[in-house]
Symmetry: C2
Subunit: 215 residues, 2 copies
Amino acid sequence: MAETPATSPKATSKKMRRQEAEALILSAAEKVFAEAGFGGATMQLIADVAGLPKANLHYYFPTKELLYRQVVQKIFQIWLQAADIFDQADGPEEGIGAYIDAKMEISRRHADGSKVWASEVMHGAPVIQDYLETTLTDWTNGRIEVIERWIAEGRMAPIDPRHLLYMLWATTQHYADFGHQIDTLNGGSPLDDKQWEAAKSNIKTIILRGIGATE
Amino acid sequence: MAETPATSPKATSKKMRRQEAEALILSAAEKVFAEAGFGGATMQLIADVAGLPKANLHYYFPTKELLYRQVVQKIFQIWLQAADIFDQADGPEEGIGAYIDAKMEISRRHADGSKVWASEVMHGAPVIQDYLETTLTDWTNGRIEVIERWIAEGRMAPIDPRHLLYMLWATTQHYADFGHQIDTLNGGSPLDDKQWEAAKSNIKTIILRGIGATE
DNA sequence: GGTCTTCCTGACCGTATGGTCAAATTCAGA
DNA sequence: TCTGAATTTGACCATACGGTCAGGAAGACC
């Protein structure tokens, strides 16, 4: 009768602090939302993964929508963080190269979050449309300016910055969102360290050479 | 065969043929599954979109899973069709260029199907895992051989064919799967003909130059 | 100990969903 | 016109889901 404990990440103390309880639930929710989608996920399953009774989830997160929203916001923060790397660079080779590395690292370390984000956008961004229109739009426009400056300075070929950004997002996210397909084509095993390095290296080689940012 | 009178979404006669009824339902299902995901889609909503009573859906497709499976298989067929273009080419510039065009056309014309496929893979391919392991694996290995030959012949740079294929899939699919995000960044409007051409052109420029397949 | 706040949870509820069914309707061919 | 198969459909059912609630348990502070 192993009903309560099982494989619960944290189930030692009887009472939890708000912060750790929320973190535990958010982590379980991210996993379940990634695997089943918003509609396919159930509060009961999230509760099981977190090792808590369902009613406890509703104590911290009144509704499923609210819980989902927080999961999406969390990954968006990580996403934005990586984006900063873009600015700290001197030129396209360094900036875009580092950005690819950072985004690939996110795809590897936060694959579930990436999937939730992808799912959200794919279904028309019902809960984070405002983020797309404000934060993401601003960030994108800022980066476009940077790229245009690089082009004007002759440090890379004159390509449309928008489509370059889309290519960067698409290619790096692909390793998270389509990770299962990649694993299957890899004989059923996840990419190992070496293969991830090869992926990053190949992507950087193709894109940096493609935009004429290599010497 | 050529005896189908007035094939419109709403048929004139009270009774439908199996073929057209199934096509109508599959089309509605593709749309709803794309917008809501498998878990979020309901048979009632699909029925409403198709303009049929729910019980009628179950007459043609006994279960939701079965209906979903057919939708996924349908888009996979289209996907494979485009893949043929790869072979009919003489070299990388022509072959990969045409493949990008074809996949971009699919992203534009079959955005819903692309989303369903992406969703399916993202959730671990519960219904088409066998396709990944057989058809897709075979196709991929075949294309890897072609690319390796091109490399051996000195017609493109020595990059890992796998990661090149992933980049092609990722970049082209992105315009369907993340179409909503792209539209939002485009001021809320879908890309027009000119913008789609620009997208294709930019992608081809970057990738073909990136793999050293241009003169 | 007493008391207040925070946290925990089993039991419960209304609703929506996938699926069933049997009766009605349509239609092709005899 | 008659007959049997194919199709259509409203009504129905069991289940599972998101969410509620009342009462109990665990600390914190005096």
